[in-house]
């Protein structure tokens, strides 16, 4: 009995040791669910047009991807992580600590965030201030005294007399989502800063500023609809009074059902997001572990495919999938950085 047990243990150890040292012959990618639909297209084309295996892409979210990516160097750790925001300095420090020293940062394009409603309803014309007043947990006291009160607004008309007299009902992503982070930062914070006394608070009392600007109301006007943007589209279709918050590619695919609201006088369109005049858009990145380039086949070629003009270029296939491409100048810089495998400095 003892002998069998020993043999079994030995076999198990040998097997796991074998896994640890076996070379991986495909690229392992983790990260943002926003970049996922674009990275997968590149991966698929890369697999079909070269002799390398198709990379494996996990959709773990930006934060989860960074954590896995920064865990260490070796075949059991991912080679590339996608992110819908820039790497944080804490994450970078974590990477350095675990031996992931040389990282290449690649900016690939932009993603627009759309506030939209059903095509059967009237198109909304909003400002970031309207959205802040409608959705923030606390708003400045309407009587002009510089204090914050719990959000009293029930209809859009309460927020801004120019808006229709319908109930405020916004379907959006939950706090775990990168889209939500971006929405808070790009819309709520920006709208909030239009009050000069709150803006002044940013320097003097950071936590008060954060709670004033970056919390979403929880009294039912903002409805957390899950991470699935398709679900939000379906619900908008059923409820004509509701507004939804989702990625631009979903507007692009469902333009027969939903329309984007005008924000700060700009419609969410391909061109207006690309030239930066539509205010609610965020950059998309991926990060490459340089230490893996020698052991994992095809990484250089994957990078070249992703940053080729036919992929992330102005007319490239990623733009057809709804990604907003970089400007020509930005692309030239990214291509040069990728060619030279420039290390990320922080």
């Amino acid at each position: 009995m003892k002998k069998t047990l020993m043999i079994a243990t030995l076999a198990a150890t040998a097997a796991s040791a074998q896994f640890a040292h076996a070379a991986r012959d495909y690229i392992s990618i983790v990260g943002s669910s926003t970049v996922y639909p674009f990275a997968t297209v590149v991966a698929e084309r890369f697999g079909k047009s070269t002799n390398y295996k198709t990379p494996k892409i996990e959709s773990t979210g930006s934060g989860g991807g960074m954590k896995l990516f920064c865990s260490g160097v070796g075949v059991q750790f991912p080679d590339i992580t996608n992110a819908s925001r820039r790497i944080k300095s804490t994450e970078f420090a974590q990477c350095q600590e675990n031996g992931v020293k040389d990282i290449v940062e690649v900016l690939i394009g932009y993603d627009g965030i759309v506030i939209g409603n059903s095509v059967h309803a009237k198109q909304m014309e909003l400002t970031r201030k309207d959205l802040f007043l409608a959705l923030s947990k606390q708003v400045p006291n309407p009587n002009g005294s510089e204090t914050m009160i719990d959000n009293p607004y029930k209809t859009w008309k309460d927020v801004n007399p120019a808006l229709p007299n319908t109930k405020i009902e916004v379907l959006g992503p939950p706090p775990t989502s990168g889209t939500r982070d971006a929405f808070q930062e790009l819309v709520l914070e920006a709208g909030c800063k239009e009050y000069s006394w709150i803006k002044a608070m940013e320097k003097t009392d950071k936590s008060a500023f954060k709670s004033a600007c970056l919390s979403v109301r929880e009294d039912g006007a903002y409805i957390e609809a899950g991470e699935n943007d398709n679900l939000i589209v379906q619900k908008l279709n059923a409820n004509k009074n509701a507004l939804g918050i989702f990625g631009f590619s979903f507007l692009d695919q469902n333009s027969d059902k939903i329309q984007g609201s005008i924000v700060e006088g700009k419609e969410p369109e391909f061109e207006s997001i690309a030239d930066g005049s539509y205010p609610v858009s965020r950059p998309l990145y991926f990060y490459v572990k340089k230490e893996h380039m020698k052991t994992i086949p095809g990484m250089k070629e994957y990078l070249a495919e992703f940053t080729s003009e036919k992929a992330f270029g102005g007319e490239g296939y990623l733009s057809e999938k709804g990604m907003i491409p970089l400007s020509k100048k930005e692309r030239a810089k990214v291509m040069a950085d990728v060619k030279g495998l420039k290390n990320l400095q922080m």
């Binding site: 639909p37 997968t40 892409i57 959709s59 059991q76 333009s255």
Partner: protein
């Protein structure tokens, strides 16, 4: 005791009533109660069936169209100059030739009025960008096709596919189309060059970001390998545990403790098993992420309690007289178990195992933690190749922006439901077929 009811005249009437009268008096009421009781049961079953019908109509209504795919007929010129092949006998050149280019040329010939660069790009988008691979395969199988002109049916792009499918039923899906694109596809339809065919790609291909090239083969193989590992581990371990607990283990506090724990494990949310698998198999034993082997290990942990509990019940159901008779003629305990108890308990154990497997087939949460929620194009060939599973594929497609994935999501659900129904039917059939009553 016997309270007189309102229409009784007195207590002595009650006493003079025979038993049958007493029974008859209440009979109508008792029948009524009986009927209501039965109606309640029928109502709950009817409610369940109604939900099922609604679910099925919704899924089948959305998903049935995914089993068909729109194809477009093009007149393609496969001359060697067109494909840039210098030496038709060289298989490398045939493999690397520009077949998508030949298709573009065919489209250009069909619509010579299109000259603008942007328009041309739109025009080329009518056919799937996987159509070139289809053409390449044709030529590789039959090199004699080179230097001929022929009509081929190639898969249409997903937008055109959705347009053609929704065209018959009221307002067609024109989402991202402009007038020109509609006029092109309408011209092709008028030519009779568009038709729907059975979507074989859906059953033979792995995942893809192009809906018309996406299939569930990869996910099915992933599920198969995962379930094989699960079955190979959980059935022997589960049965051995059940046999020991039923036949050998003494009845004491320790075995009670084990029993409570097994029952408890059966109720633990499956994501916990995923976290456990992540900690033990991937972080500690350093196994690779996203492979069916680890998926199988995790699902084994999840299905074990189900199998142990049902196996114990099956062993308990074997009458003690059989054990005693075998002992009486001199069989050892092991012989009793192997020759008599296990064969008689097997149908019950198998039923439990199949139900456990069906549960494992529909599980996504634990697979999330061990990296099986991933985009994997290549079809896995073994238990150490990266893979996903059927429910994961459904989850990933449900999240995709492309319109054509909506019907594919529902179609994949139909396939998964089909497998589940098959497995559960097998379990019922086995029980009916092999069950013995004493």
């Amino acid at each position: 005791m016997n309270k007189p009811s309102s229409h009784d005249t007195g207590a002595n009437v009650e006493n003079t009533m025979s038993t049958i009268d007493k029974v008859n008096r209440n009979l109508a009421k008792r029948y009524r109660k009986e009927k209501t009781f039965r109606a309640m049961g029928i109502a709950s079953i009817a409610f369940g069936l109604l939900c099922l019908v609604v679910l099925f109509t919704d899924i089948i209504g959305k998903g049935h169209s995914a089993f068909l795919q729109t194809y477009i007929k093009l007149h393609v010129d496969l001359s060697t100059e067109m494909l840039y092949i210098d030496d038709p006998s060289d298989p490398h050149q045939i493999a690397a030739a520009d077949y998508q280019g030949a298709l573009k040329e065919a489209l250009k010939e069909r619509f010579p009025e299109v000259t603008d660069r942007r328009q041309k790009r739109n025009l080329y988008g009518i056919v799937s960008n996987g159509a070139g691979f289809q053409l390449r395969q044709m030529v590789e199988e039959n090199p004699a096709l080179l230097n001929t002109q022929l009509d081929v049916w190639v898969a249409a792009d997903d937008d055109y596919d959705t347009y053609y499918k929704s065209r018959g039923e009221g307002e067609a899906y024109t989402g991202r189309f402009n007038e020109e694109q509609i006029s092109w596809i309408e011209a092709l339809i008028a030519d009779g060059a568009v038709k729907k065919r059975f979507n074989t790609t859906f059953f033979t291909a792995g995942d893809s970001r192009e809906p018309e090239q996406a299939g569930i083969r990869g996910a099915m193989m992933g599920s198969l390998f995962t379930l094989l590992v699960t079955l190979a581990l959980s059935f022997p371990i589960g049965v051995a545990a059940a046999v020991y607990l039923e036949e050998y283990a003494p009845k004491n506090r320790f075995t009670d403790f084990i029993e409570v724990n097994i029952n408890n494990l059966a109720a633990v949310p499956s994501i916990i098993f995923g976290l456990l698998g992540l900690a033990i198999f991937i972080n500690f034993m350093e196994m690779p992420r996203s492979v069916p082997l680890v998926g199988g290990f995790v699902l084994t942990l999840m299905t074990l309690p189900t199998i142990i509990i049902s196996s114990r019940a099956a062993i308990q159901a074997v009458p003690p007289s059989i054990r005693e008779a075998a002992m009486g003629i001199g069989a050892s305990k092991m012989q009793v178990i192997l020759h008599h108890v296990l064969p008689l308990a097997l149908p019950g154990m198998l039923t439990g195992t199949i139900i456990g497997m069906a549960q494992a087939l529909g599980e996504t949460a634990p697979l999330l933690m061990i990296g099986m929620v991933a985009f994997i194009v290549d079809i896995p060939g073994g238990i150490t190749d990266p893979a996903t599973a059927l429910p994961v594929q459904i989850f990933l497609w449900a999240d995709s922006p492309e319109r054509a994935f909506v019907e594919r999501t529902s179609a994949a659900i139909m396939v998964l439901l089909g497998f589940l129904i098959l497995m559960n039917t097998l379990a019922v059939w086995l029980r009916k077929r092999l069950e013995r009553r004493w």
